[in-house]
Symmetry: D2
Subunit: 374 residues, 4 copies
Amino acid sequence: MATKDQSDDQLGRARVRDNAELQAYYEELAKHDTAALWTVANDIEPWHPTPASDAIIWRHKDLRPHILAALDLVSPEAAGRRVIYLRNPKRHEVSAACGWLFSGIQVMRPGESAPAHNHAASALRFIMEGAGAYTVVDGHRLSLGARDFVITPNGAWHEHGVAEDGAVSMWQDGLDIPLTNALEANFYEVHPDDYQNSNTPMDASPATYGAPGLLPAKESWGAHYSPLMKYGWDQTYEGLQNYARVSDGDPFDGIIMRFTNPLTGGHPMATMGAQIQMLRPGEHTKAHRHTGNVIYHVAKGAGHSVIGGVRFDWREKDIFCVPPWIWHEHANESASEDACLFSFNDFPVMEKLHFYREQAYAENGGHQQITSTA
Amino acid sequence: MATKDQSDDQLGRARVRDNAELQAYYEELAKHDTAALWTVANDIEPWHPTPASDAIIWRHKDLRPHILAALDLVSPEAAGRRVIYLRNPKRHEVSAACGWLFSGIQVMRPGESAPAHNHAASALRFIMEGAGAYTVVDGHRLSLGARDFVITPNGAWHEHGVAEDGAVSMWQDGLDIPLTNALEANFYEVHPDDYQNSNTPMDASPATYGAPGLLPAKESWGAHYSPLMKYGWDQTYEGLQNYARVSDGDPFDGIIMRFTNPLTGGHPMATMGAQIQMLRPGEHTKAHRHTGNVIYHVAKGAGHSVIGGVRFDWREKDIFCVPPWIWHEHANESASEDACLFSFNDFPVMEKLHFYREQAYAENGGHQQITSTA
Amino acid sequence: MATKDQSDDQLGRARVRDNAELQAYYEELAKHDTAALWTVANDIEPWHPTPASDAIIWRHKDLRPHILAALDLVSPEAAGRRVIYLRNPKRHEVSAACGWLFSGIQVMRPGESAPAHNHAASALRFIMEGAGAYTVVDGHRLSLGARDFVITPNGAWHEHGVAEDGAVSMWQDGLDIPLTNALEANFYEVHPDDYQNSNTPMDASPATYGAPGLLPAKESWGAHYSPLMKYGWDQTYEGLQNYARVSDGDPFDGIIMRFTNPLTGGHPMATMGAQIQMLRPGEHTKAHRHTGNVIYHVAKGAGHSVIGGVRFDWREKDIFCVPPWIWHEHANESASEDACLFSFNDFPVMEKLHFYREQAYAENGGHQQITSTA
Amino acid sequence: MATKDQSDDQLGRARVRDNAELQAYYEELAKHDTAALWTVANDIEPWHPTPASDAIIWRHKDLRPHILAALDLVSPEAAGRRVIYLRNPKRHEVSAACGWLFSGIQVMRPGESAPAHNHAASALRFIMEGAGAYTVVDGHRLSLGARDFVITPNGAWHEHGVAEDGAVSMWQDGLDIPLTNALEANFYEVHPDDYQNSNTPMDASPATYGAPGLLPAKESWGAHYSPLMKYGWDQTYEGLQNYARVSDGDPFDGIIMRFTNPLTGGHPMATMGAQIQMLRPGEHTKAHRHTGNVIYHVAKGAGHSVIGGVRFDWREKDIFCVPPWIWHEHANESASEDACLFSFNDFPVMEKLHFYREQAYAENGGHQQITSTA
C-alpha cells in the first residue's frame, strides 16, 4: 500500500480556513469548555513524534567535584537522599533527565545511612564507585559493588547506607518519578521505624534467584517485580563475553542483553527496563530510531555516539540520553578494548501500551552525517 | 505497621535550610545541567496525587445547539472530522477533557463521510443519536445505533459516515491522544485510497465474536486488541438487568460491568477501558477514590454525583469527568427508573504499570459533605 | 525438506537382527529390570498414532428404553448416580467411551436427588430432556434445560436433582475419569453434610458472566475454571445463526464455535473442551484428521458422518465418537433444516502438552470412499 | 468442614446389591455397548490414587557391565540408538520406568554417531561419563560433559555422537514416550539427509541464554520450549551452593531448584520438568507424597531414601523412581559431603491439567517406619 506524503494540505487533515463567523463560533464554544477539534487537530495528531527532550551528555569529570562537594554541604538525614540530579534543559518543569525519566547521582560516606521510605515511583541504581555500600529493599539486604545493577520497585521500602569501614560511595539513580507524577499516581511513605532493621543474609536475593536457568523449586513470590534484585557486574560481563563468542551482534547495538525477571523472562520492574551492551573493538553500529527514552551510562571504555547528527564523545562514567524517535548510532574508538554501555529506559511502558516503533536509517550506508559535536 | 503523619518536617523528607553557600552551589550545579534533589524532592515525591484536572460537567442541553451549528460551518472533508471537543480548564495545553484523555462530540449529516486515517492513539465511540451512521475499522464495517459502544484501536484504519437515507448522527469520541503525545509516541497516516472500500458484511464482528461464552473455533486473530469491536446497547442493557437480578451490586458503583476482549477477558484496547453501570431506583452509592481518569456519559436516566464535595446534577447525554484520587459517589434520583452511566477510563494504563490504588471514604457513613453545586 | 518413506528398514529405525548371543543378553538384562530399546523401539515410536478406540455410534432409540428401565431398578441414593455409561469395545478395561473420556446418560425422576461429592476428574453435562432438573456446583445453583451445556470442574462439589413438580430428566455426562486415573491423580470425597444446602439465586452464574463482551467489573474469581458454568441453548443457537450469517464456515466443520471461559477466552475447564457446530442445509464437509478424542451428541437435525471410511447415520440425541487421527467428515441430509452437533473433547490436554496435530484429506476432492455403513 | 470416612458403604458411593433382575439388565446393556456406572463407580472413582508402578532402584554397579556389553553387540546405525532401558515390573506393557515416563542409558564409543530423527515425545539427557560426546538439537550443537543436563524437545530434530578423539560416553535418557503413546499423539520422522550437518558454534545456546538474569535483547524465539538447551553442571552446582548459603531448605527436599526456560520462568519443555537438589551433610528430610512420577539420578554422594516404607540405599549414578502418592523421604549419610540428586518428572502435566496435589506425613515426627530394605 503506497504511503501518502506528510502534507497538511490534503484530504484527511484539518484544512479549515479561518473567517469571522468561525471566530465567533470558537468564542461561543470556549464559554462551554469546548473547542473545535479542527483548530488543533494537526498539532495534536502529528505525523510522527517530535522529541520533548534534548539529547545531552553529562561528563563525569565535570560533575564529580560538585557531587563530592555535596558531602560537606548536606547530610542524608536532612536531604532525605544526597542526590545531584540530571536536569534536561527542556524538562526543567518535571525535573527529568529525559522524557519522563529522572536520574541523579547519589553519594554517601562511610557510616552514613539514609532512612527508609517507599513511593509508587520505581527506582534503580548503577554503582559507580566505593566500598561497603548497601541497600535494603523490602527487607532484602544487598551489597553494592562497582557496576552492579540493583532495583527498587514501586512500593518497596528501601534505604541505603555505607558501612563504617567502607569508602565514599557513588551511584546513579534512575526513577520514573516524572511519569508517575504525570499519571497522577505517586504516593510516598516514610518508614514508621525510620529503618527496616532487617537481619536477612546479605545478598540472599542473587544467591537464590541468580543461577542461570535455575529457580528455587519451592519459594513463593507474589510480587509483580523481579525477586532477583541485584545483577552483579562479574556475571553480567561474563554473560556479554559468552554471548559475543557466538553472535554477530545487532547492527544497531552490538552485543546487547536485557536484564530480566527470571520468574517471567520480562522486565524486572513494571515501568523501567535496563540493558547492557558491548561494542567490540572498533565496532561502529548503524543508526536507527525508536519510541521510548534511553539513558546511557558508560560502564567501561571510551567511544562516541551520534545522536540526531550531533557527535557525543564519551568515556567511563559519563551519562548521556537519547530521546524518542531520534536517529542514533554508537562507536567504540578503541582497536583493542571493548566498550560497555549500561542503559535504562521506559520500554516496558512503550511495549505494554503498544507504543513501541522502530525504524532503521536507510541512507548513507546506515550512518548519519555529523553536523556538530557536543 | 503504624503509618507516620504526612509532614515534610520529619526524617525521610527533604529538610535542608537554605543559605548563601548552598545558593552558590545550586548556581554552579545549574551550569552543568544538574540540580540538587533536595530542592525539589518534596514536590516531586508528594504524599499522594493532587488532581491535574478539574471535575467538570458538560450538559447536553447547553452543547447541542453549538454542535449542530458545526454542520453548516465546516465539512468533514475540510475538518478531517467534524468534532467539538471537551476542554478541561486545567488541560488547555494538551487539549484534554480529563488527565491525558481527549473527548469530543462528532456530528455528521446523511450522505457525508470522513476519509480514512490511522494513528497510534486509540479511539472509542458512544453513540448518542441518529440513523444510518457507520464506521469502518480495518475493513470491518460496523453500524452505529444509539448507545452502542464501538472501538477503533491504535493503528487501525478507520472512517465514518452516514447513509444517504439516514439522519443527522452524533456520537461521543474518546481518545488517548494526550497520553500518546505525552509519551512521544503518536503517528498519523492518511489512507492512500482516501477510503477503505470494504465489502465485508455489516456487523460481522459482533456476529462472530458477540455470543456469550462462545468464540469461533477456527478463526485466527493476531491483533492485540479485541476482535469484538461493537457492543450493542440491547445486549449490554440486558446484561446489566440480568446481573442486577442476582447481585447486590458494588457499594461504590452499583451494578457495574466492564467491556472486554472476549479472546482474553481483558480490556478491549491497550490504553483505554470502558464500563457500563446501572444505579437502581433510589440507589445512592458510597464515596471512594482511585487513581486513573474517568469520563462518564449518562446513557439513561437522571441523577447526581458528588465529586470532591461538589454536587453535579446530570441527565441523559450529559458528560462529566472524575479526575484521579478525588472522592466521588453517585445517586439515581428516580424512585422508579434505573439510571445508566457509560464511562471510559485509562485503567489499563494504571493496571499495567501497577499504578492502580483505591480507597474507601471512611467517614460520615461513606458520604461526603456537599460544599457546593455545579 | 523431502520426507522419507515410513519404512522400518532404513537408517534411523531399529534394524537389529536377532541371534542367540543377543537372546542371552536380553535374558540377562531382564534380570536387572532392564531391556534393549531396539527390541521395542519401532513399536513405541510409531510413525503415527493408531487409534486405541473404535469409532462407534450409540443411537438414542436403542438406548432410551434401557435408560428409562433404570428408574425402577436402582435409586440415586444406592447408585450414587443413576448413569448408564457408553462403553467402547476397545476400552472396557478403563470404562471409556473413547480414548480417556468417559460418557454416560443420567436419568432422574421428579423429587429425586443425588448426594453431593467431588472428584479430581472434571465433568460436563448436555441436557437431553426433562423439566425441573437442577445441579449445584460449588454452591452455584443451575437449572438444566434441554440442550443446555453445564460444567462441573475438577474438585468442585456437585449434586443433581429434579424438582417435585418436574418431569423425568435425562442428560449426557462427559468426564475425564479414565485420564485422571491413567495419570494416577483421582481423588474422591463425599460431602460431609450429604447436600450443599445452597441458597444462592438460581442461575446467578450465567446472569453474572453470560453477557456478550461484558464481565462484572468488581467480582473476584480465583478458580482456574470458568465462572460461567451454564451455557444456555437459546443464546448458543442464536450465536450459531449470527455467525452463519457472516461466515463461509470451516471446510471440515461448517459453522463451529467453542465454549469458553469468558475471563480468559480459553477452555472452560483444564482438561476438556466443548464445541457446538451447525451444518447448514445440504452441507457436506471435507475430511480431515487430528489428534485428540471427540464425542459428539446430535443436538438438532439428522445427517451422517463418515469416519475412517465407515458411514454413521445419525439423528437427534444420537451419540458417536471420533478417535484420534482418523479421517472424518460430516453431512447434513436435510435440504431445508440445519443440523447441530454438540461435542466435547480432550483438546485442552492436546494443546497444553503440545500434542495437537491436524491434517486435511487431500485425495478425491477431500471426501473418503465409503467402505461400509454402521 | 469435617471430612467423612473413606468407606464405600455410605451415601455418595455406589451401594447397589446384585440380583438376578439386575444381571439380566446388565447383559442387555452390554449388547448396546453400554453398562451401568454403579457396577464400576467405586473402582474408577477411588478415594485416592493407588500407584501403577513399583518403587525400584537400578544400581549402577549392576548395570554398568551390561551397558558396556552393548558396545560390541549392536551398532548405533542398526539400533537407531544404543540404549538399555529401565523397565518397571508393573509397566512392561508400556516400556516405562515409572508411570508414563521412559528412561534408558545410552552408550557410544568414539567416532560413532546415531542418525537424526524427531518424534512428538520429548527427551532429556543427564550425562554420566565420557569425553567428546555431543548432540545436535534442531541445528544447535551442544557438547555433553559429566552431569550436564540437556533437553531435546517434542518435534526437534536430534542426533548424537562422540568425537573420534573422545572416550566411551554414557548418559541417561528420559522421555515421555509412554505418555505420548497413551495420548495417541506420537509421530516419528527420520531426517531426509540422515544427519543435520550443522555448522553453528558449539554451545551457542548456553552462551546466549545462560547468563543469570540476562537475555539477549534482540533475538527472536518462537518455539514453545526453552532456548537454553544445556544446563552445565558447574553453574548448576554453584547455584545450589549459593542458594544453600542463604536458605534453610525445604523440609521434604533440602536445597532444591528447578530447571527453567529463561524466557518464561516455566518448565523447559511442555511435558517434563527436571530438578536438582542438594542434601547437606547429615540431612534427613521429612516424608511427603504428591501426584506425579519422579525418576532420580544420584549425581553426587551417597545416602538412602525411604519410599513407601522401604529403604533404598543409593550411591553415585544409581537411578531410582518414586511413583505417585507414595510417602518418600531422603537422607544424606555423609557427615561431611553433600549429596546431589538430579531428577526428572511429569509435573508439567500435573500442573497444566490441575492434577498436582501434595500432602505432608503427619505422624512420627514426619518419618516413616521402615518395613524392609531394597
